[in-house]
């Protein structure tokens, strides 16, 4: 892997940019690997990267049915934050946030992490109580979060409407300054490049159609559209299709898959300097470096794999955006799209060993997995390499739905996380 640097740019400029190499190779699949990762999204590629760099396991294949980073990694709204209520969540999301800080240097790939601040608005007494509880809980866990008055909120984000005449007036806000955004594609590409350079095989257009198990129940490998590929360890990181893959191994999951939509506006000059979220009017918004407003909507109410959603969901979100920012009422929306998110009953992920020996699963990130990408990959690689969870992901078991030890962010965050 040739290092990217200012000198590399100068060198290539001198010789007509003919020396740039492919960022990752596309080898033919081997018959057998030490580890197979199902799904080349951010989480899967990060897992492969940390298997190679932290644990020295490089005989790894990442299988992807479509193209690399083409699922929810390329469909999310790129928001990064760690202001979750419960200790377990704070642990894993802040682990990720610490890795974001310095990820571009580590990968030698600009993931454009921008700690521009994530501001969550309060519109009523209940919101004030909930958000202040989050502020205190976060600070006890060493996570920055501070309370703002409406005037301070507007100072931080000038286009915000704090009029008392608003239908849902802003009565305060919680601000995590370390939160922000990153370039989602670059995260997948950066991890893919780093993993490939260390010998990991990234195999695109290779759909897993079955999971083979030996007579003793342990995993032997996977059947794919490009034939059988053997491995004693298989990590499933398949987002909305996680339960489909797990069913192939005979494991029924506490998951339901829903469409989640997002949309972007026409590009405009910088106007929204941070990320603004509101659970009560249910909308969140930021601005990309290209100038588009990036807006996240809610999930549809029914199980679906269609990667589309109802128009009324988008309308509802835009109603809320225009309520928060009347300045945007005449903006034109350019594109909208949907992805399929796998949601657990407690809205916390599952990163764990499974009842099947050699089968591991990293799923259930629901509507908010992007922010966790580096941390998720880091601890999941540990779980696979050691056959034992990292202390950070130890609480995120499948068994918690039997034992009742839930991590109930569903009640804490409910939406837009």
């Amino acid at each position: 892997m040739k290092k990217y640097s200012v000198f590399a740019i100068a060198r290539e400029a001198m010789r007509g940019h003919k020396g740039w190499e492919e960022q990752w190779s596309s080898p033919e699949p081997k018959k057998e690997y030490d580890v197979i990762i199902v799904g080349a999204g951010g989480h899967g590629l990060a897992t492969a990267y940390y298997l190679a760099t932290v644990h020295g396991i490089t005989n790894v294949a990442v299988l992807e049915k479509g193209w690399l980073g083409g699922g929810n990694t390329g469909r999310n709204t790129t928001i990064i934050r760690s202001n979750y209520l419960y200790d377990e969540s704070a642990g894993i999301y802040d682990h990720a946030l610490k890795l974001w800080d310095g990820l571009s240097q580590e990968l030698n790939y600009n993931v454009m992490y921008s700690a521009r601040g994530v501001m969550m608005l309060a519109h009523n007494v209940h919101d004030i109580q909930v958000l202040k509880r989050h502020v205190h809980a976060n600070r006890l866990n060493g996570i920055d979060n501070e309370w703002l008055t409406p005037e301070q909120a507007q100072e931080f984000c000038p286009p915000l409407n704090i009029s008392k005449q608003a239908r849902y007036p802003v009565v305060g806000a919680a601000l995590q300054r370390r939160g922000g955004t990153a370039r989602h594609d670059a995260v997948a590409w950066g991890y893919a490049r780093g993993a490939s350079a260390r010998g990991v095989h990234i195999i695109q257009n290779c759909e897993v159609i079955g999971v083979k198990r030996a007579a003793n129940g342990a995993v032997m490998g996977v059947d794919t559209t490009r034939g059988f590929i053997g491995a004693k360890k298989v990590g499933v990181v398949a987002a909305g299709h996680s339960s489909v893959i797990m069913n192939m191994a005979g494991v029924r999951m506490p998951l339901e898959s829903y469409p989640l939509q997002a949309l972007v506006s026409e590009p405009v000059k910088p106007v929204v300097p941070c990320v603004v979220m509101s659970n009560t009017v249910h909308a969140y918004i930021s601005q990309s470096d290209k100038g588009e407003l990036v807006i996240g909507a809610g999930t549809d109410q029914y199980v679906s794999y269609s990667q589309t959603g109802g128009l009324h969901i988008l309308q509802h979100t835009l109603d809320a955006i225009c309520e928060m920012f009347p300045i945007f009422t005449r903006m034109k929306m350019l594109r909208s799209w949907g992805g399929i998110v796998d949601v657990t009953p407690d809205r916390s992920p599952i990163l764990a060993k499974t009842p099947v020996s050699g089968l591991y699963v990293n799923c259930g990130w629901g509507t908010g997995g992007f922010k966790a990408t580096p941390g998720s990959g880091h601890v999941f690689a540990h779980t696979i390499a050691r056959d034992d969870p990292h202390p950070i992901n130890a609480p995120f078991t499948i068994e918690r739905f039997r034992t009742g030890r839930l991590i109930d962010e569903a009640a804490a965050a409910a939406v837009a996380h």
């Binding site: 299709h241 339960s243 489909v244 999951m253 506490p254 898959s257 029914y302 199980v303 794999y305 739905f401």
Partner: protein, 103 residues
């Protein structure tokens, strides 16, 4: 937005009038306190989440307010049929879903 046929109102109405109520035909135990942890997990948390035909409950909340069941393809989001609550899970599905919906 989905168009959903309420089997009680016998009319196709927009999704906004309905509330999805999750997977259908999951029987609640008559003796919940006596359920083992494994059985409770299966009843309460584990879902089939199929890619393809799903049997699900809907409630016509802004109409007749009654629960009913539906068969839908989760890839196309097209309804195959809807039927009243309490009716058994259909063992055979009609081949042409449009034909069924217009009945």
């Amino acid at each position: 937005m989905l168009l959903i046929r309420c089997p009680y109102c016998e009319e196709e109405r927009p999704e906004l009038e309905f509330r999805n109520a999750g997977e259908a035909h999951i029987a609640r135990s008559a003796n919940m306190a006596g359920e083992s942890d494994d059985d409770f997990e299966k009843f309460f948390f584990i879902r089939s989440n199929p890619k393809g035909i799903i049997y699900e409950r809907w409630r016509h909340i802004h109409g007749c307010a009654r629960f009913f069941n539906a068969v839908r393809d989760t890839v196309t989001d097209k309804f195959v049929m809807t039927y009243k609550a309490g009716e058994p899970k259909p063992s055979k599905l009609p081949k042409n879903s449009n034909e069924m919906a217009s009945k």
